[in-house]
């Protein structure tokens, strides 16, 4: 282990010159290199410390300390309000992501394979991706009302363009030598698509799914804040309206936490299954 670390530093020779040659920083650097989790813990710890100090100053009457927020988080888990809130927040998210995933990947692949489909559909999604969705979400209510359908649609509006565009670019940029190889081996068009293009494109398609999920989280929270307050959106609005700021921050932090953990899990899955070559990096 030690030998390999040294070998690494030797390979990355020029980088050494930037670091101070001896002392604490090198020790810390080595420690972080060996236990990458440590650097994350320290980084989070420093952030929480800054938060606690800012809360104690206080920078605003409406800004709770870190410990108050953590305590509120604990009580909200204990009384079940946070868990039941996720029960209703995850509904439109899961439905929306499932629809966007299936529709997005199919559309992306079709667009990647056919110029005609690309001309027809791509501009719409490029516009959608750059549109300020927060301004469009209230418009959904005019057509779809204020129920689950409207919230699911909000998730789809944010997640679908990312998934479609990633899928389309992945298929369009499939390795041409592999495609040529398939052709030389007299592969049919169907074999070319199913055996060469899609497997080659799958890592980027999957990355699109991951980004789509991240966008879906934004969509569901926007919908819950802008359409009707349910789930986490309800906890945020309610606690804000009765000035329980620690609870409000706890709800906000919890959704960041849930989305981060979900995305990290997806990324780990992606690296393990689809891109083994990335693990070394």
């Amino acid at each position: 282990m030690m030998a390999s670390t040294q070998a690494d530093t030797r390979v990355n020779g020029p980088a050494r010159a930037v670091h101070s040659p001896a002392g604490l920083s090198l020790g810390l650097g080595r420690l972080f290199l060996r236990y990458p989790i440590l650097s994350r813990v320290v980084s989070l710890g420093l952030f929480f410390l800054a938060w606690e100090i800012a809360g104690r100053v206080p920078i605003s009457y409406a800004f709770p300390t870190f410990f108050d927020t953590a305590y509120a988080f604990g009580t909200m888990i204990a009384d079940g309000s946070l868990i039941s809130a996720y029960g209703s927040t995850l509904q439109p998210l899961v439905i929306g992501i499932a629809i966007s995933g299936v529709v997005g990947i199919v559309l992306g692949i079709v667009m990647g394979l056919s110029r005609m489909a690309e001309w027809l559909v791509a501009p719409l999604f490029i516009v959608l991706q750059s549109a300020p969705m927060a301004a469009l979400i209230p418009l959904i209510t005019f057509v779809y009302g204020i129920g689950l359908a409207a919230k699911t649609l909000a998730v789809i509006m944010l997640a679908l363009p990312v998934i479609v565009l990633n899928g389309y670019k992945a298929v369009r940029n499939a390795n041409p030598s592999l495609v040529a190889m398939c052709y030389s081996f007299q592969g049919t068009r169907l074999q070319q698509i199913t055996k060469v293009i899609i497997p080659d494109a799958s890592p980027v398609i999957f990355a699109g799914l991951r980004l789509g999920l991240a966008a879906g989280f934004i969509g569901v929270i926007l919908a819950e804040l802008l359409i009707t307050p349910t789930g986490i959106g309800d906890l945020i609005t309610y606690h804000r309206s009765v000035a329980n700021y620690a609870e409000m921050y706890a709800a906000v932090v919890s959704i960041i936490l849930v989305s981060t953990v979900t995305l990290a899990a997806l990324e780990a899955f992606e690296v393990r299954v689809l891109r083994p070559e990335k693990r070394r990096g």
Binding site: Y61, T228, P229, T237, Y238, S241, V242, A243
Partner: protein, 328 residues
């Protein structure tokens, strides 16, 4: 070299201008509304115009919600806010105080007469209110208590106009609407909906509030605003039709569509008949009513009797003005 000087000069000029802006902003009384201006705020806008005539420099901004207006006042970006920041004062000890009650909650529990006729019929049924912790929810909970009934579920539909529409379309059978919604129900489907009786609910809907420091330092301006509002409220109560004249006189809400212009007089007539304008500005009596009501709604915590008026209200300006214009 010259370019550098020019830059410096421009920078200095910009600094001087921004300093001038800050100075003028300090002289101005910045009022933050928690909602966009509508027919419902015409009388308040009139009163503010009258305060301007008395020499108070007022600048009005419209924010998205009452919470944000309250934050603006606490943070010093506005001087006077419109709303009822009881929770903010109690829970985070924000140094703001209410100094004038503008309106009391006026809501009408409406039910579809095909399904329900009285409060007792609502036992075990679902009702729709504005949002969790809102005044409409508190009213329904209060009536639940008084009538000895229990709703099966309270659902949340923000916006009185949305609830009115849902009631008309048959999506909800029992809800609570504002006076505009009530009139819409009566004109769209006469006799189809019953307004259930609601007595003894007398809580602040909106009040004016400001930082304690501001109230101390600008007592003269605050007195002028309070006096303008009180006299305007008394005039509206005596003759609600005058609001339409004020709108033309002070050129208020010039872009109002005709359908809403027609609403002005009926709206104020109904509120005047219901004595909805606090002609004595609320004060300690209003605070006591609010303690009882808002502890029930969850905005305030603790025993209503243990809450102190001076922790939430600064009635000095109101007292001064009332001694001048008299109580009604």
């Amino acid at each position: 070299m010259f370019k550098g000087f020019a830059c410096l000069k421009a920078g200095a000029a910009a600094l001087a201008i921004s300093a001038a802006f800050i100075a003028s902003a300090e002289a101005k009384v910045r009022v933050a509304f928690g909602d966009i201006a509508s027919v419902e705020s015409l009388h308040l806008l009139t009163a503010l115009e009258r305060a301007k005539e008395k020499g108070v420099d007022i600048e009005v901004t419209y924010l998205k919600s009452e919470d944000i207006a309250a934050q603006a006042v606490v943070g010093g970006q506005a001087d006077i806010g419109v709303g009822g920041p009881y929770a903010l004062v109690q829970k985070v000890k924000a140094p703001v105080r209410m100094f004038l009650q503008l309106s009391t909650l006026r809501f009408y529990p409406a039910v579809n007469s095909e399904h329900y006729k009285t409060w007792k019929d609502l036992n075990g049924q679902e009702v729709a209110v504005h949002s969790r912790g809102s005044g409409t929810e508190a009213i329904m909970k209060l009536m639940e208590q008084r009538q000895g009934i229990k709703f099966s579920k309270i659902s949340y539909i923000p916006g009185s106009e949305v609830r009115t529409g849902a009631l008309l379309q048959g999506n909800v059978k029992a809800t609570i609407v504002d006076s505009a919604g009530r009139r819409l129900l009566e004109t769209q489907a006469p006799g189809k909906f019953i307004i259930l009786p609601l007595e003894g609910v007398n809580a602040t809907d909106e009040a004016l509030f400001a930082n304690q420091q501001f109230l101390e330092k600008n007592a003269a301006d605050v007195d002028k605003i309070v006096e303008s509002i009180l006299t305007t409220w008394r005039e509206v109560t005596a003759n609600p039709a005058v609001v339409a004249e004020w709108r033309t006189k002070y050129k208020l809400l010039p872009d109002l569509p005709a359908s809403q212009t027609a609403e002005i007089v009926p709206y104020f007539t109904e509120l005047a008949k219901a004595k909805a304008f606090p002609v004595n500005g609320g004060g300690a009596a209003a605070a006591k009513d609010d303690f009882a009501f808002y502890t029930l709604s969850g905005q305030l915590t603790g025993e209503p009797a243990s809450l102190k008026v001076e922790d939430f209200w600064d009635t000095r300006s109101l007292d001064r003005v009332l001694s001048k214009v008299g109580t009604m």
